[in-house]
Symmetry: C2
Subunit: 197 residues, 2 copies
Amino acid sequence: MGYYPEKVEKLIEKLVKFPGIGPRSAERIVHHILREDEDVVNSLAENLISVKRDVHLCKKCFNLSEGDLCNICRDERRENILCIVEEIKDLILIEKAGFKGIYHVLGGTISPLDKITPEKLTIPQLIERLKKEALTEVIIATNPTTEGQNTAEYISGILKELGIKHSRLRCGLPVGSEIEYVGTPTLKKALEDRKVL
Amino acid sequence: MGYYPEKVEKLIEKLVKFPGIGPRSAERIVHHILREDEDVVNSLAENLISVKRDVHLCKKCFNLSEGDLCNICRDERRENILCIVEEIKDLILIEKAGFKGIYHVLGGTISPLDKITPEKLTIPQLIERLKKEALTEVIIATNPTTEGQNTAEYISGILKELGIKHSRLRCGLPVGSEIEYVGTPTLKKALEDRKVL
């Protein structure tokens, strides 16, 4: 407190509110900024403002987008397989894994204790899409956590009613892992679901 | 590449250039920004610009400062003990350790191989200060590395010529450490310099 000039202290205060930035890395970032060219810092500041101002959620799938529809929803070469994810960061990871279909971002998981009902998520919009779009398959890619599993089961119920073919991401040993360090629930799944060769 | 809207990709590109921010944390920071209020993001951007514009180096000790002289150099209650450090971050750490004197920030260490001569650092300005200011003691607080040690010896030579009392930070076992995990050079120093009880 008070070791730096006031403006620097304020900047550090703001930076530590970001995920993964502690007081030490906030200080390192400030030192880096002070060494950088003024142009670079100004352009970073403008970029921050413009991302916040111009980047919104896609009206269809709730991915990030600069227009009404995101790059993926506008891409006509995409397959009619819908992948349902909890968060945008999951969508990005599945894109990086090479998925060629389309997405629906829920914005979280159903959690009655936290008063997060299906209506608080994008599940009403999902149901609209399921009724309207001609999908060959739906992949429920929520996390293999209790909340993710409960949400998957809720959505599976809807899909069964609508008679739409659907699947869930497979659980098992992480590639490159060692059995010694994998938890018992994972090992149990890997055993139960063992792949016949 | 191309998974996010262009403005988001650009922002991530800029963020990963900062120390301690990898691609993953840059993405987490962007997601955080997108969830934050526009006011908060704008104020962060302004703060970045103003720090870069208004924070400079103190004309006397080369600490960070919003005016010509930093808060420490302007504080008349400070003792006339001068602590010489490599970088501003070292000054802050020594402040936090409770030091009540004044400082001189070298801006690095002497390194002939990297063409860093004493003139590339703030050593000429240090010599001016040593001649002018009435100091009771000088503490050389460069790091206990080869470069820090060489720089300390160079400065010690100057101080001897000027007949000024000076000292160096003591090396030994870190408080709370375990001998098992401390390196041999540290242990050797701790043994040689053992404190008689």
